[in-house]
């Protein structure tokens, strides 16, 4: 899978994963404490934050695997930094990344418009929810409550990860530091790097 990748793309992905690993950890602590007061639904509003790195990396690098690998590395960084959810987080990262990857794969890695990015966020939401359903033991909750959680998570994935991810990368593209990456080549009229 990595044979076609340039080394600088791999390193970029790893570095972004490190940056977002820290952001994720920050939100994990906030979410944990919040969850203590209003229960597991506390996470759902901000869940999209945890999908953002896969969308950002895929939007920049545009190669199969960018979503799933980056999300997994970000999770690994959270584990390395000594978070308290533990190694299990790597598995959730992998599953979230697969959700986003599925959306990009469905479009053949050709289209990276806003709806596709939002779809990737939704994909992550659905995949991670299925995993959370099993591991968090959501089956003991009332189905209505579970549906509400799923609905909020999907909205959060589409808005925070999809729209937010595009917003961040477009801002970054404007600074000119992304020259030499596939995203810059895709933008019409840009200099070939």
């Amino acid at each position: 899978m990595l044979a076609k990748w340039k080394l600088k793309e791999v390193v970029l992905m790893a570095l972004f994963s490190v940056v977002f690993g820290i952001v994720y950890l920050l939100f994990l602590h906030v979410g944990n404490i919040w969850a203590g007061f209003i229960g597991p639904i506390a996470y759902e509003w901000i869940f999209g934050i945890w999908f953002i790195v896969s969308i950002i990396c895929m939007y920049i690098i545009r190669k199969p695997g960018a979503a799933v690998i980056s999300e997994t590395i970000a999770a690994a960084i959270e584990v390395l930094l000594g978070n308290a959810v533990g190694p299990r987080l790597i598995l959730s990262g992998l599953i979230q990344g697969l959700g986003a990857e599925a959306a990009f794969a469905a479009t053949g890695y050709k289209r990276f418009t806003l709806p596709v990015l939002m779809l990737a966020g939704v994909g992550s939401s659905i995949f991670s929810f299925a995993y959370g359903y099993l591991l968090g033991g959501f089956s003991v909750f009332h189905p209505g409550y579970v549906m509400l959680m799923l609905g909020i998570r999907i909205a959060s994935g589409a808005l925070i990860a999809g729209v937010g991810g595009k917003f961040v990368v477009d801002g970054l593209l404007a600074t000119g530091s992304l020259r030499g990456y596939p995203i810059a080549r895709a933008v019409k009229g840009d200099a070939r790097a």
Binding site: K8, V11, A14, V23, F37, I38, V79, L172
Partner: protein
């Protein structure tokens, strides 16, 4: 002996802890997770030299979280069968409800215990090297993660610098913690632009020194699997089995 958990192969530890967690997900009685939590703490008491003060500090958010699980499970429970054991404000709590609620909150604690065990007894660099050597992680990715990990202190510094720069130019620091968290987005863009440049430079440096990212069989720093891993894994499995066995009666 005191170092056995620290000396355990990180990949083996990682796999065994993941297996424990996935198994726990299938039990809905309060005893299985409680026994596992206790067992994990006992393991750490016997075979590790961790800082217990720090451990306790990390455990606090999980105690709060497990309380959150406890009361939401009671209020939003689906299964309301069984004898009533407790009445609060004319709201009856049944045996099943209480069991499920206790089970979920103990599960949070058991997961937290396992995770803290991993985090406190594993050296990050060794973990990545072991992933590459035992679990066949691509060297391209493994070394890239290590590069990213090495940049952490630099990025932390940069984070402070950008914050200071913003303040110099008159950006006010908000009192409200949530607003302050929201304002982190202003720091994100400069941080990421810096990360892009660092990535490019280190990739060139790695290539200049002959790094191709090919699979290899020989390593400078070798991480091994040994007898210690077998013994420790057996102990983990024993705790898990003891927890599961209690449901059989």
């Amino acid at each position: 002996m005191k170092q056995a958990l620290h000396k355990m192969n990180p990949s083996v530890k990682f796999l065994i802890i993941t297996v424990c967690m996935l198994t726990l997900a299938f039990f809905f009685n309060p005893w299985t997770p409680l026994i596992c939590w206790g067992g994990v703490i006992l393991l750490q008491l016997c075979f590790s030299t961790i800082d217990w003060k720090k451990w306790l500090l990390f455990m606090i958010p999980f105690l709060i979280m497990s309380f959150g699980y406890f009361w939401t499970t009671i209020v939003f429970a689906e299964d309301r069968t069984g004898a009533v054991v407790w009445s609060v404000f004319q709201y009856d709590i049944t045996r099943t409800q209480l069991d499920h609620a206790l089970s979920l909150s103990f599960r949070v604690l058991a997961f937290a215990g396992l995770s803290l065990l991993f985090a406190f007894t594993t050296d990050p660099t060794k973990f990545i090297l072991s992933l590459m050597q035992q679990l066949k992680l691509s060297p391209k990715i493994a070394y890239s993660i290590l590069v990213g990990y090495q940049f952490l202190p630099v990025m932390k510094e940069e984070f402070v610098h950008i914050q200071q720069a913003h303040r110099l130019r008159g950006a006010v620091r908000d009192r409200n913690a949530i607003v302050r968290l929201w304002n982190v987005r202003r720091l994100l863009l400069p941080m990421l632009a810096g990360a892009v440049r660092k990535a490019e430079r280190s990739a060139f440096a790695m290539e200049a020194r002959g790094f191709t990212g090919e699979k290899r069989v020989e390593f400078y720093q070798v991480v091994r699997v040994g007898k210690n891993d077998v013994v420790m894994s057996a102990l983990f499995i024993f705790i898990l089995a003891a927890g599961c066995a209690i449901t059989l009666k």
